[in-house]
């Protein structure tokens, strides 16, 4: 099921609000200040939606593509690009770069908006974020072999997990 904040981006209400402005640069600026984009960003940052669900959402949008006809979800693609503009992840890179590089007649605003987003991403920090799984030395307790490890389930949040006898997994209390 598509998360509500994403689902709203493909509604007529959203398209009517942002789709009848002919200047993509202005649309991007308006989107940046909009509640709709703030909601998507918040949901992504707080882990309510994952980048995987955004990918699934985009793949679903693409199914409505008809050659020779203006893409019906152009505004939604624009919104995703703007939502990911300040996100320093490989997924955000991939989406914005892919969209910005398109040169097809069926997409108008979203491609231009992605190009604007790409320009602005150059100002983002060049620091690369890498996530590591931290493991403790194996130890025994009550005859069972334990190994504690910490996995980043979402960027910015760490979940402490443990493994028992190398095959049972669970979350630490």
């Amino acid at each position: 099921m598509t998360p509500k904040v994403l689902e709203h981006l493909k509604t007529d209400e959203f398209a009517v609000k942002f789709g009848f402005i002919s200047n993509p640069a202005a649309v991007r600026r308006l989107l940046l200040k909009s509640n709709e984009i703030a909601d998507v960003r918040r949901a992504l940052n707080q882990g309510e939606i994952s980048e995987g669900s955004v990918r699934t959402f985009v793949n679903d949008l693409v199914k409505d593509f008809r050659s020779g006809e203006h893409f019906p979800h152009d505004s939604a693609l624009s919104a995703i690009a703007v939502s990911l503009e300040y996100r320093a992840t490989p997924f955000a890179d991939e989406f914005i770069n892919d969209l910005a590089s398109l040169r097809i007649a069926e997409l108008g605003h979203s491609v231009h908006i992605a190009r604007e987003c790409k320009k602005n991403r150059k100002h983002l920090s060049r620091t690369t974020t890498k996530y590591f799984i931290l493991k403790s030395k194996p130890f025994e307790k009550n005859g069972l072999r334990f190994e504690e490890f910490i996995v980043p389930s979402n960027p910015g949040t760490l979940t402490k997990n443990y493994v028992v006898n190398d095959y049972q997994f669970g979350k630490a209390a």
Partner: protein, 190 residues
């Protein structure tokens, strides 16, 4: 992720378009509209266009800037190109004492978002009691909408973003004697 667009989409097409000074103007001939666009245009008119008068039903290819500066042949999406055309084609903004006339342009600029729209004056009504004349604008809202005639202030859909909207009138007519002088020579005047 967006590979399907690349595989199935039609390669974008543009025409040779230049300003009066010879600078290239980037443009794209956009695709036609689908049923979703038709429905959204209907909703736009229902919500914001009760007093609009339709000149032409929904069509593709050109946006507002393509309508006023490229004779409905293509879309001009690049904001810098709008500024460029206004400068290099010799437009000047009307001062408060001047009245717009048919063929002048009207632009809508949001305080912190920039140009939102540009349209063309198609009707000017002058009153005998010397009150300010009223004008009507012809607009193509986006590259899938139709063309509508409306009052300059009747643009509710541009006013829903908590931004101050500045309406500016532009003309290519020579400035009145007391106003800013126009470089007539550069526009072919002998």
């Amino acid at each position: 992720m967006l590979e399907q667009f690349r595989l199935v989409g039609r390669h974008e097409r543009s025409i040779r378009l230049q300003t009066h000074a010879g600078t290239d103007v980037p443009n794209i001939i956009e695709s036609g509209f689908g049923r979703e666009h038709l429905e959204r245009y209907r909703q736009l008119r229902q919500r914001h266009g009760k007093h609009w008068q339709q000149r032409k039903p929904a069509c593709g290819i050109y946006n507002c800037a393509g309508f006023v500066w490229a004779s409905r042949r293509t879309s001009i999406l690049d904001e810098a190109a709008w500024e460029l055309i206004l400068n290099e084609d010799g437009y000047r903004s009307l001062n408060q004492e001047e009245s717009p006339t048919i063929g002048d342009l009207v632009s809508y600029r949001a305080s912190s978002a920039g140009f939102l729209h540009v349209g063309m004056i198609v009707e000017v009504t002058v009153f005998t009691d010397l009150s300010s004349p009223t004008t009507k604008v012809l607009s193509k809202w986006n590259s899938t909408s139709g063309e509508d005639v409306h009052a300059p202030e009747d643009v509710g859909h541009l006013r829903q973003f908590d931004q101050e909207i500045r309406i500016e009138f532009w003309t290519d007519r020579p400035a009145p004697a007391k106003g800013k002088k126009r470089d007539a020579e550069s526009f072919g005047a002998s």
